[in-house]
Amino acid sequence: MSDDVSGKMQNNRVTVYIDDVPYQLSTDNNLLAGVLSNKLNLPYFCWHPSLGSVGACRQCAVTQYMDENDSRGRLVMSCMTPVVDGMRIGLTDKASAKFRQQVIAAMMTNHPHDCPVCAEGGECHLQDMTVMTGHSARQYRGEKRTFTNQYLGELVGHEMNRCITCYRCVRFYKDYAGGKDFDVFGSRNQVYFGRQKDGVLESAFSGNLVEVCPTGVFTNKLFSAHYTRKWDLQSAPSVCAHCSIGCNTSIGERYGSVRRVMNRYNHELNGYFLCDRGRFGIGFVNSMARIRTIKGVNSKVGEPSVGVFNEKSFAKAINEHSGESFIGIGSARASFEANRLLKCLVGKENFSLGYTNLEMQLALRHKQLLAQYPQQSLTGMEHRVHQGSEAKEHDLVVLIGENIAQTAPRLALTIKQVLRNSARDKADSIGVKHWQDSAVRTYAGNTTTPLFSLQAQQSEFDQQANGALILSVAQIITCIDCLTAMLQTEFNSHVVLPLKTLQSKTVASVNQGGSRQESITKDLSDQESKFTLLLASTLSQAKTPLIVTGLSLKSPQLLHAIDNLMSCLSQKSHGFAPELTVVAPECNSVGNLHFLNEHNLSIEQVIEYCSASYHENKIPRTSLLILEQDLAQLSAQQLQQLRQHCKTMIVLEHTNNQLTKMADIVLPVAAVSESNGHFVNYQGRLQRFSSAHIAVKPIMENWVWLGLLAKHLFTQQELNFASLTQLQLFFAKHGEAWALQVLTCQQQNRRVARQTHRASGRTAMTANQSVHENKTFLENSNSQEGLRYSMEGDDANSSHNMPYTWAPAWNSNQAIFQHQQEVNGVLNHQGNENLLNLSLSVFFDDTHEASVEDKLDKLWPCKVFKRDGELTIIQNIPWFLAEQQSHNLPEFVLMFAGNSIEISTEITRKNGYCTGDILKITINEQQMFAKVRVNKSLTKNVVLVSLFDLPMSINNLNITAKNISKATTEEVTVFQQVEGDRRKTAQQEKADILIRLKKQDQTVPITFFSDESKSGGNTNG
């Protein structure tokens, strides 16, 4: 892919003379992008590499000369100027330099100069540009305009007086991310950016305003509450753990607590933007529910205190369990390495991924899809459009059975840009360049790329879809099967039915093809067959359709149907390149597919196994070793059974959950910000995340705990590794490809500093404790890792995993262009592409299609109930709670509107419910209460629920009408109590966390003793 890109780039390069020096600029982008691509400093505000140009701020003016004899030239705005071969421009000439200085001077007349109390200070693009233009003295003596700020919710702060009217915020929020509740008001010197009235920003991407705004109008409220300057942050390159997209993030830490997450540019993945679940969700690592001590070991001495871990006494205590036989349960949110190590410890026969039978079947179907249809680089392609070298432009999008706005918000942002492909094409047809953002939008109007949506619930995409149906999962599958059959007929007969014929004669048969189509659609309702016919004809005319689906509906049959559809589409001849994207449930779900084979135990099998040995011996014999897993999909009864029939339950976990409550031993595990490893994203990309700081003992990384257990419990000394690299080396020696891949990548790493150059006042970094030099601490234990907890080491930007973004004169994240090969291009130190090889396990290869299902059912039998009059529960929880870890962020809890249930008019009528009633819903023997909303467009058997306590892993669940009933008066009171308490508790926790963190800033000298057991001889001089 990158070869294509550079190849095309070369062709479009022309010579441009900047201050009489020849440079090579690409004609695919505007002059400003070309100048910046050559790493020249040219100030700008309104232009954004991914948003394009509007020419609003006049900051990027340069002088353009007619020819070499022209000494006067004329001012042009470089962001609005196309690159032409042989053009001559001036960057340092007096006229344009003076102009740029005056533009800033004018902007600053209304800026409050409140940098000391501004959260943007030190990484402010406005500060940088002001200094860059040379406007260093304040001349304006008049009054400044003042605004009233708005409350925009728990996440984003608002300080309008700082605004310089660049319009970037509204262009991102409204134009790019499709938000409807944010706009620009007024005119002239009274231009206001915000909501129509105070209220929570509705978009899942509002956090990007913090980075998009060149100054401090929009700030990260969570960061501001426990603030530190960028230059005092210790940062590490990480990977978001809140969905399967695997956006690259930069986590900033100080005094042992995580302060914030910023976007880390990845050309192939997240580009410049994150979703709010990723940006703010990281707060879970500071939550009060974090486990900070060991439970169940050393109980004689009492709970071990924070900051201390005594390996000897731990060994002694844990050794009592060494005779037991263990089953290991891995997790899709633990790192790839930890899962691998766990499997190695307990043996492949005793390893479970923590999936139910159904989920095992689902996972196998998922693996089958990934192995056959490689997931192309889809996310992040939107900014590559501005590189003018995007090879593939999708001309049709089909969303099937996955509400991406809920399960993978960042992907939804990408799809929104994909839908603009035809708008760009339209503009291109009259010669308007793709980067002319405003012109393209004006000319293209409402033109969007065709979109079809076949979902189990409403989504924001329905509004702009050419066809949108909301159906039950069974109906969705029927529709896809019919679609496949139709396409198959069409491909076989080579008869392409003209679109018009199809539309006008939906049911009537025109020819043989038509009559066969008719027989295919007999299972469908009129509406469905109309939809399917339309989609079939559109699909057969498209060149590069994109099909997006996922696992959240928990239907192996759906994936099977998609598989059939894809294999049918793949038959079509050249020039047709269908693409499939499968959204996985969690950050390392695809990594777990690597471990998936016929030996894996499902959770039901684990329970059965434990019970069997229990009944045989009348005492529990089997023990469990559970890695970062909450088994939320189990019913209370199943959990109880598991607990009673297992001997010892050891849980490695970072946050309290139902399993940690019942476990015998709980070992506190480092969360993503404190640990190292790899996650495999939905595409199969093996991505390294590094610790921003070391956790306070006894919290340790999961692989460290597993190593200690290997040594003291399993007596497998060789599996106790001193570093993650050693772990990887061990598996590489055993010929495992993934380990070789990640090691090759790491070898290119030089040792990079996590701290900024400005931390050279090192004695000040820990001034709360001591002004003594805190030299190269903890280096021993991490000697083989690529990053150092210090300002000493290689430049942050010399690594492909940049801990933070910075360049001389560019202190904000805008500095990224200095590290890209060209604007919007790959990074200078782009790492290797590590794609996990997901070859299908042997047992699949020579199995015929028909018997796959049988085999699956034999291995992991799951009963599918089918009865009439049943209701299907579909998850409708908002995006910020659609992932378990983010439930621990009080801000997200405060954003939750309360439990609600949406039911169709039919059910409402039948049972006499009405909007506002409180219903009792029994799911997995657990009673939940929710407020009714009647949804007219809902199919009669579907119930949409948004329940705080219902985990995402329970979805598309069949219940009977008996499971839903009107709550009694007492229950209503309890419900209201619970709802109110949840908010109160969240408020309280928000305050408590802040108090705890601020206290910790003063008292925990984390850096001095946190790794004493490993570093040994490491002393401070």
């Binding site: 509740d181 944010f182 005119s187 002239r188 129509q196 409402n446 050419n466 679109l499 939809f531 339309l534």
Partner: protein, 187 residues
């Protein structure tokens, strides 16, 4: 591929972020609705009729209240935030209640040079109100204006669409006097 080639169902109007209590079909009069729909019919998109719709409703109601704004936004299937952006951009759309007569006094450079400030003082004294204020009887509202395009006949002002040129202290008073009388007649 052209979108109009296939459309399975009419695009579902976007769910508004505005108060559900207002139903534009009831709020806007039949006349208002029909004139707005005429404007919509000659525009490429519904929201393009935003300015015209605001002018139409203002014509009948004198100004654009929050409720009017929400109703128009619903009618045009756009977010009320977007329509608010349009309404607040144009100085001839009034988002606050104004008097029967709205005086736009030009304070741009030509009028500045030819003594608009004297005229302003006269008006303020005569009506007893400042910029942005309305007389207690609800007759006059005084606003400033950036250039009415009458630089050759400055100082100038505009009242309810009618331009008044080459103003003097005396002529302003007689204009306002005349209007006051009229106003009384109408009321």
């Amino acid at each position: 591929m052209n979108n109009s080639d296939f459309s399975l169902q009419p695009r579902i109007p976007s769910i508004m972020v505005t108060d559900e209590e207002i139903d534009f079909r009831q709020y806007l009069s039949a006349t208002e609705l029909s004139v707005i729909e005429h404007e919509v019919s000659i525009m490429e998109t519904r929201e393009a009729a935003g300015i015209e719709a605001l002018k139409i409703v203002q014509k009948y109601r004198g100004w654009i209240s929050d409720d009017s704004l929400i109703a128009i936004a619903q009618c045009l299937q756009m977010s009320s935030a977007q329509l608010e952006g349009v309404a607040t951009f144009y100085n001839l759309i009034y988002r606050q209640k104004v008097g029967h007569y709205v005086i736009h006094l030009c304070d741009s450079i030509s009028c500045h040079l030819t003594g608009y400030d004297e005229i302003l003082k006269v008006i303020q004294t005569y009506l007893g109100i400042g910029y942005g204020q309305t007389t207690p009887d609800g007759e006059f509202t005084l606003l400033s204006n950036v250039c009415l395009g009458s630089c050759d006949k400055s100082p100038a002002m505009m009242i309810n669409g009618q331009h008044y040129h080459s103003l003097t202290n005396e002529s302003v008073v007689s204009i306002l006097n005349g209007l006051s009388k009229n106003a009384g007649d109408i009321v």
